[in-house]
């Protein structure tokens, strides 16, 4: 079969170590995105036109540019523009946090806006303070709408971190390439198997999250 190399030496350990880097970048970015995204979403709700316009431009820029362009901007651009030399991994975390926060901010905004005015009015009429109204009436409903697309966003971030290898981060795809190079002569078919295994590794992580997102979606709509 030509796939024996996968079980020889430290191949599997190396792939898992690479996957660790992938997950470290992803989880760090997700963790930083959550507070920033929630903050962005709540700033959107302020009826301040200047603030709204600034956030809109930021969100549209992040959304419209390919993630690889954003990685290049931070990795190469920050050195030229500000004299800051980020490592590939730091640049990656910055980009995926900026992206995650923008997307999550928009989701938070949409979730908060979807709560009808009558919910606030009824809560106030019942004598709840604005803090109580937010924590006990608005937040639980908003969370239910927010959760499915947010879980989806996590899978998108995990998949997209594969682009980090193009700015020199040694994550799981780059480790895969090193394994292919190492086995080039003894196992000429290593490229086929290694990329299949890489796809499988991502699938094993992302698929359950996709299923969870769909399950949450179904539960909140019924």
């Amino acid at each position: 079969m030509g796939a024996e190399f996968l079980f020889q030496g430290a191949t599997i350990q190396r792939l898992l170590a690479g996957l660790g880097v992938t997950l470290r970048i992803s989880l760090l970015s997700v963790g930083l995105s959550i507070p920033l995204g929630v903050l962005m979403g709540m700033l959107f709700m302020r009826r301040n036109p200047v603030l709204r316009a600034v956030l809109r431009v930021y969100l549209d820029f992040i959304r419209v540019m390919p993630q690889l362009v954003l990685l290049f901007l931070v990795f190469f651009g920050s050195a030229t523009a500000f004299g800051l030399n980020f490592s590939g991994e730091v640049a990656s975390v910055i980009v995926f946090t900026a992206w995650g926060a923008a997307e999550l901010g928009d989701l938070v905004r949409a979730a908060l806006e979807s709560i009808p005015r009558s919910q606030y009015d009824s809560a106030f009429a019942l004598g709840l303070t604005s803090r109580q109204t937010f924590l006990r009436v608005v937040l639980p409903q908003a969370l239910r709408r927010l959760l499915p697309p947010s879980v989806n966003l996590v899978t998108r971030i995990i998949k997209t971190t594969s682009l980090c290898m193009l700015i020199g981060v040694v994550e799981v795809v780059r480790v895969g390439q090193q394994i292919i190079d190492f086995n080039r002569f003894d196992y000429p078919q290593s490229a086929l198997w290694t990329y299949a295994v890489l796809a499988l590794l991502y699938f094993v992580i992302c698929w359950p999250l996709s299923l969870l997102s769909r399950w949450l979606e179904k539960r909140s709509s019924s």
Binding site: P66, V69, L163
Partner: protein
């Protein structure tokens, strides 16, 4: 920023933009066809095809495009399937996009009430007529916002093809940065060219979405 350099490099980026557009358009057209075929196979419960379709959609949506591309470009030649970089890039976008398009078509097709199909058959339309003239037009109207979003997504994803040395916008930017360190100029042109391509499509998407939201 040296504007003379920007002017000097602009034609290189214009050439690269043609590569990006060629691959994106090719990939998007194929993705639409793949997506529609899979969605119809699932709607009609075609044996085998619908099960394969379900598995395909999950794989396409839950693996990174870069890994899909490398598998096609570096992996498949090992079993004798050698494609040109352009063909690989288009096949990759078709594979990736097909999964997303299939989901957009499927949810749109499912949103058309069964009575539409039944009524069409009662009126004497054949199954294929009922589908082509009654169900599909209504589904297309439903699917359009999601399809436009997928188009934007696929043009953005086409940036990964620089990974197999196709001279798209990303590749040219990387080349200039590597050869002459004109980083600011290269990144400026990169952003401008992607914005010129993507802002109109994404604006169109907002208009389309707004129109359909009003209609409901």
């Amino acid at each position: 920023m040296n504007w003379e350099l920007v002017v000097e490099y602009a034609p290189l980026f214009a050439e690269a933009a043609r590569v990006t557009l060629f691959i994106s358009v090719g990939g998007i057209v194929c993705a639409l066809l793949v997506g529609l075929a899979v969605a119809v196979a699932r709607l009609w419960h075609v044996p085998l095809l619908s099960q394969v379709g379900v598995a395909y959609v999950e794989v396409a949506r839950n693996t990174p495009s870069l890994v899909q591309l490398f598998f096609l470009y570096f992996g498949l030649p090992k079993v004798g399937i050698v494609l040109s970089p352009e063909a690989c890039a288009i096949a990759c976008l078709a594979f990736l996009g097909g999964g997303y398009m299939a989901e957009a078509f499927r949810s749109a097709l499912e949103s058309v009430p069964p009575i539409q199909h039944e009524s069409a058959q009662v009126l004497g339309l054949t199954r294929s007529q009922a589908f082509m003239r009654v169900v599909l037009p209504q589904a297309m109207a439903q699917a359009t916002p999601a399809l436009v979003a997928n188009v934007v997504f696929l043009v953005k994803e086409s940036s990964v093809v620089s990974g197999i040395a196709l001279a798209d916008l990303m590749y040219v930017a990387k080349d200039i940065i590597g050869q002459s360190y004109d980083t600011a100029e290269a990144l400026f042109l990169l952003v401008v060219f992607y914005a010129v391509i993507l802002v109109p499509i994404s604006a169109l998407g907002s208009v389309v979405e707004g129109r359909f939201a009003d209609g409901r």
